[in-house]
């Protein structure tokens, strides 16, 4: 009975204050939403990579590939099998449907290491897969995109495949691609040892290729996910703050009610239990709303994320969010955990307090100087330890630990720093009003510090991540300009064809620069070796990070090689050192930046390269033509039988990259605004929580001769100042964050270091936005003060409260 009455009384409070109920649920829900949304995007992207990487199990295996050309003869496969080699044939190609290109893979299901799920079962299933007409397995999205295409074999959904990939029986795909008896490569199966001598004897045209380049999709895309992970961590922290604020509000505002209930005979224990039950209810409700909101956020952002990943790394990601337990459960967890942590503190207080004391405002009054000093010392220790973690540890984990420690330290340091700053201003204050303003700021600090810490983290992460993405964009586009200095790139597929077309090319272009590349063992790791002609196009533009003397002449005469930054980091070499290329030690002439490529790479002068590797393919060219004639030249070449997919137009490529970055920025901006909103909401709830405590602090000033309007305005000024200080302190934190991401985490993750570019305009925008957000959050509480009926203020002087 008493339980029911108690619960009814507690709940009736919300009925009478629907606004507060909404704030509480909304606060919790938003925190949950942001976290859930980011988690959902990450989960979806991760699932896509896993699909892409695992579905065919080819990416992780060595393969046998043609030494020249791009075809493997079927006889070679049979020869190898009949010699006992464990290999499986693969055909790969592209399929254009509409303006989309799909990658088409043909597998031989009897020997393939894995076959994606989805094919039918039994002899009928296998018959259907073999055809005619055969079947193509694909991700449901891809099937949807191809719906109605009647030229293709029937499509069958496979949960294992990444979007954009079609997998069919090797016979079916060979037919579609007009490959006849030819194969693309042979996948080497588990247990097949490498025996190059035997291979050379059996099939001299094939060579062993270690697990394929660029297929470590996880590694490639980690860069992008750093963004999201940073936001995920941050939203988690900000979320906890806001939940804390919202729950605090719910308790502070009902102290009177608690007192009454206690007076009516509810024991502290029962009251505490009732409150715990009530909060569980609220948390569940908020979690539901938050997860739904998170889904909406993720669904809205995922297309941009997917486009970015596809554009930047060629990683196909599904465009739709699936309801995965890993993210919605984590959303539920954060809502419950956050509410739990925040509630526990209050419930514990309540359960221990005497009936009379229930109504006495929490001792939030003045922050104890000692506590602040202790917090400052702790923050300092953590901040000092952070670089130590970076120095002592290694790898990505250390990088992230460093980041975590740094952010935590910075957040902890905020309240003492602000207190010091405010004390300084208070001492400097000339008028009584400013003196009071600063003093009162300091008084509010303990109650606001959680929210302000959330704001600090939000702003710091925003600055850090936008600096990183911005630096990445600036560097990457600049690098593209350097690397893609020629106007047009051709890959003619076959040497014979290239030789045939060469006169035409010479006649059409100002300069025809042959490019050749082979897989090579670079300092013990699989990499790629390029032959590059000696030409001003390269000499003037190549993005050298470090160079010895006479780089270009020495390169052209074969005195050494240029290596990419990844190789330089990996082999720990600098210009002047030597690096082994397929077993030969060659001097390093220079180091160049090579973003977006995880593998070691080296460049030799074309002449020495071809002398060394006479069989290297010679069907790729860079063409110099006047930029304005590119479309013309392309049309001309197409008329001569060069397919559009064999030509790459530098300008178009750059435009695509830029578009990709725009979409990345769209995602980043959206998340920026969301995190800031959450931080602002934390400020709002904190201020509302404080409002009840504010009256006795404000009423005397009012009585002494300040209008309520003035007091409200000052309240706003105070929030704005606190936000401003916080934001100013967040700026260096954000920049350090960016530096760590660019100079430490990036190097650990991908082997290249991005130069840090500064974007003061962005900072200004973010800071303004953050202060504005804080002002908006403070506006409502300030207005409530400005319009408070005098009677309420008066009661401060009479109430026993």
């Amino acid at each position: 009975m008493i339980w029911r009455m108690g619960l009814l009384a507690l709940l009736s409070y919300w009925r009478r204050h629907p606004g507060q109920a909404v704030t509480l649920v909304l606060g919790l829900a938003l925190a949950t939403a942001l976290w859930t949304g980011v988690q959902a995007i990450n989960a979806e992207a991760r699932a896509s990579y896993d699909r892409a990487a695992d579905a065919l199990e080819q990416t992780t295996r060595p393969s046998l590939v043609p030494s020249a050309g791009d075809r493997v003869a079927l006889e070679d496969y049979v020869t190898l099998r009949r010699a006992g080699w464990q290999v499986s044939p693969v055909i790969e190609g592209n399929l254009s449907a509409g303006d989309t290109r799909y990658s088409l893979i043909g597998l031989e299901p009897l020997t393939a290491p894995a076959v994606p799920r989805g094919a039918g079962t039994g002899a009928e299933g296998l018959s259907a897969f073999f055809g005619p007409p055969g079947q193509l397995l694909a991700h449901p999205d891809t099937i949807a995109a191809l719906a109605g295409d009647t030229d293709l074999p029937p499509r069958v959904a496979s949960p294992d495949l990444a979007p954009g990939t079609l997998v069919g029986d090797i016979g079916v795909v060979a037919g579609m691609l007009g490959m006849g008896d030819a194969l693309s490569s042979l996948t080497v199966l588990t247990g097949q040892p490498r025996d190059d001598a035997a291979l050379a004897e059996l099939t001299p045209d094939l060579h062993w290729q270690p697990p394929r380049e660029g297929t470590d999709i996880g590694g490639l895309t980690r860069s992008f996910h750093l963004n999201l992970t940073a936001f995920g961590l941050l939203s988690f922290a900000v979320g906890l703050f806001i939940v804390h604020g919202a729950v605090g509000l719910a308790f502070e505002q009902r102290r009177g009610l608690f007192r009454t209930l206690r007076a009516l005979g509810l024991t502290a224990r029962v009251l505490a239990l009732l409150l715990a039950a009530e909060m569980l209810l609220v948390a569940m409700l908020a979690a539901g709303v938050g997860i739904a909101l998170g889904y909406v956020i993720a669904a809205a952002l995922l297309p941009d994320v997917a486009a970015t990943l596809r554009g930047l790394y060629g990683v196909p990601v599904a465009g739709a969010i699936a309801l995965r337990p890993e993210w919605w459960l984590s959303g539920l967890a954060i809502a419950l955990l956050g509410t739990g942590v925040a509630t526990a503190q209050y419930v514990w207080q309540l359960a221990r307090s005497r009936a009379r004391a229930t109504a006495i405002p929490r001792a939030w009054a003045r922050a104890s100087e000692g506590a602040l000093r202790r917090q400052a010392v702790l923050a300092g220790a953590i901040l000092l330890a952070a670089p130590l973690i970076g120095l002592l540890g290694s790898g990505l984990a250390a990088g992230f630990s460093l980041l975590g420690a740094f952010l935590l330290g910075a957040a902890l340091a905020l309240p003492p720093a602000l207190a010091g700053l405010l004390a300084l201003f208070e001492r400097r204050a000339k008028t009584p009003l400013t003196e009071w303003l600063w003093a009162d700021c300091r008084l509010q600090l303990p109650g606001l510090s959680l929210a302000l810490m959330a704001l600090l983290l939000a702003v710091a992460a925003n600055i850090g991540v936008s600096t990183m993405v911005g630096s990445f964009r600036t560097t990457f586009t600049g690098w593209l300009d350097q690397r893609l200095a020629a106007e047009l790139y051709l890959n003619l597929g076959e040497d014979a064809r290239a030789a045939e077309l060469r006169p035409l090319l010479d006649a059409t272009a100002e300069a025809v620069l042959p490019i050749s590349a082979v897989d090579a063992d670079l300092a013990g790791a699989p990499g790629r070796l390029y032959g590059q002609p000696d030409h001003a196009t390269f000499r003037d533009n190549w993005p050298l990070l470090a160079a010895g003397p006479e780089v270009w002449p020495r390169l052209s005469t074969g005195e050494g090689v240029l290596i990419n930054e990844q190789l330089a980091y990996g082999a720990d070499v600098a210009p002047g050192d030597t690096v082994t290329v397929d077993g030969t030690a060659l001097p390093v002439l220079g180091i160049y930046s090579d973003y977006g490529n995880p593998r070691p790479q080296a460049i030799m002068g074309l002449e020495p390269f071809l002398t060394r590797l006479p069989d290297a393919p010679r069907h790729r060219f860079a063409l110099r033509v006047p930029p304005e004639t590119v479309p013309e030249v392309m049309a001309e070449l197409q008329a001569a039988g060069i397919r559009p997919d064999q030509m790459t137009d530098q300008a178009a490529l750059k435009q695509v990259s830029l578009q990709v970055f725009e979409r990345t920025f769209a995602v980043t901006t959206a998340l920026n605004i969301l995190t800031l909103s959450v931080a602002a909401l934390a400020i709002l709830t904190s201020l509302l929580t404080l409002a009840a405590l504010r009256l006795p602090q404000i009423a005397p000033v009012w009585a002494i001769g300040l209008t309520r309007a003035r007091l409200g305005a000052l309240e706003l000024v105070r929030a704005g100042l606190l936000a401003l200080f916080t934001v100013i302190l967040a700026l260096p934190v954000g920049l350090v964050l960016a530096w760590v991401l660019l100079a430490i985490v990036n190097v650990e993750a991908f082997g290249w270091r991005l130069p840090m570019h500064l974007f003061p305009a962005d900072w200004a925008a973010i800071c303004t936005l953050a202060v504005l957000a804080a002002l908006v959050a403070a506006a409502w509480p300030a207005r409530r003060i400005a319009t408070r009926p005098p009677a309420e203020l008066l009661r401060r002087f009479a109430d026993e409260r």
Partner: protein, 355 residues
């Protein structure tokens, strides 16, 4: 992912003439669609019939050998090439509807080695050629070295390997081909399911086994079975127990029983040492399990009593290694046995449907 490949291969296995897996599978119990059906009183033509019959759904070249090692120990090997057709025809290249796969077993008293491989027809990775005779898949092969004019099966070289074993054996026949069932028409049920079935049970073997501990020279006896059909099973048949026995007196006995919900369906052929062959129909052979072996939760009858009263045969069989389980995509028990009683000798036992 590997599990998925397994699934796909299992669906392949469903097309094979193994009763346990055939059970309940549409297409096996039912009428063959477009596939030829064995007819009584066949007349075989060689060497053509040593080769593949793509118009039939299933076919195999099946060799078992009981061997004595130079180390004084007993061994057994199995070599089987299966052909399974998705359509009753053959085409060149990837379009071929023929699927080939093969099993190799090597049994020692303590261990049992298994190898398995699969191949697509039409591209040359596996197949059977009649002149000169060769059956192959990957680097496994059964190649004739018969004298000109002699039957291709009179002399064969056999090789196969698995992850941790290999064998190379020379088989030389000391008797004629034997036509099982009634002149090579072997009934598999009372309702007329049948296969074409002939054998060469008179091989003398020499060769070498490659085991993890090193090579071992062996000699012994071998038995080759050839069988093809399109619909070997009735819906209610769950598996079979199949014996090929080399009696010490030089006689050979082939006996099998297809298990069903009733007493089963048994057939046998008694071949004298000089190749005289008599058919023993259903009801004249009794199979009684005497001992069971637990193999990964399966209860497999590895000791048997076999009785053919008309021939005065009453023997009990013992496996060389009761754990001769073929853990291939389609799994079954197959291993060397010895027997005693009214007669004694050695042979091979294959049991399916205990999976």
């Amino acid at each position: 992912m590997n599990a998925d490949r397994r699934r796909l291969l299992q669906m392949l296995a469903c097309t094979l003439p193994v009763p346990a897996l055939g059970q309940g599978f549409a297409g096996l119990g039912s009428d063959a669609d477009g596939f030829a059906i064995p007819q009584p009183d066949p007349s075989f033509r060689f060497p053509a019939d040593h080769g593949a019959h793509p118009e039939f759904r299933i076919e195999w070249w099946y060799v078992t050998a009981i061997l004595d090692g130079a180390d004084g120990r007993q061994y057994g090997i199995q070599w089987t090439l299966f052909r399974s057709a998705l359509a009753p025809e053959d085409r060149a290249g990837w379009d071929s509807p023929q699927i080939w796969f093969a099993h190799a077993g090597l049994t020692t008293p303590e261990r049992h080695f298994v190898g398995e491989t699969l191949a697509r027809g039409g591209i040359g990775q596996a197949g059977v050629r009649t002149d000169p005779f060769e059956a192959w898949i990957d680097d496994w092969s059964m190649v004739s070295r018969a004298r000109p004019g002699a039957d291709a099966f009179s002399a064969l070289d056999l090789r196969a390997n698995g992850p941790d074993f290999a064998y190379t054996l020379a088989l030389d026949a000391e008797g004629p081909l034997v036509f099982q069932g009634q002149n090579g028409f072997s009934l598999k049920s009372a309702t007329g399911q049948a296969s074409y079935y002939y054998a060469q049970p008179f091989y003398r073997v020499t060769g070498q086994l490659d085991l993890p501990d090193g090579p071992i020279d062996v000699t012994g006896q071998a038995w080759l079975d050839r069988e093809w059909s399109s619909q070997p099973l009735e819906a209610n048949q769950t598996g079979w127990d199949w014996f090929s026995l080399h009696l010490d007196g030089g006689e050979k006995l082939m006996a099998f029983r297809l298990r069903d919900d009733g007493p089963g369906y048994a057939q046998a052929n008694w071949i004298t040492a000089d190749g005289e062959n008599s058919h023993i129909g259903d009801g004249a052979v009794t199979f009684t399990p005497l001992g069971w072996t637990d193999i990964d939760g399966r209860r497999v009858p590895t000791e048997w009593r076999l009785q053919i009263p008309a021939r005065g045969l009453d023997i009990a069989t013992q496996p060389l290694n009761p754990h001769a389980w073929m853990g291939t995509q389609l799994a079954y028990w197959e291993g060397p046995i010895s027997f005693s009683g009214s007669h004694s000798g050695r042979g091979y036992l294959e049991m399916t449907g205990y999976d």
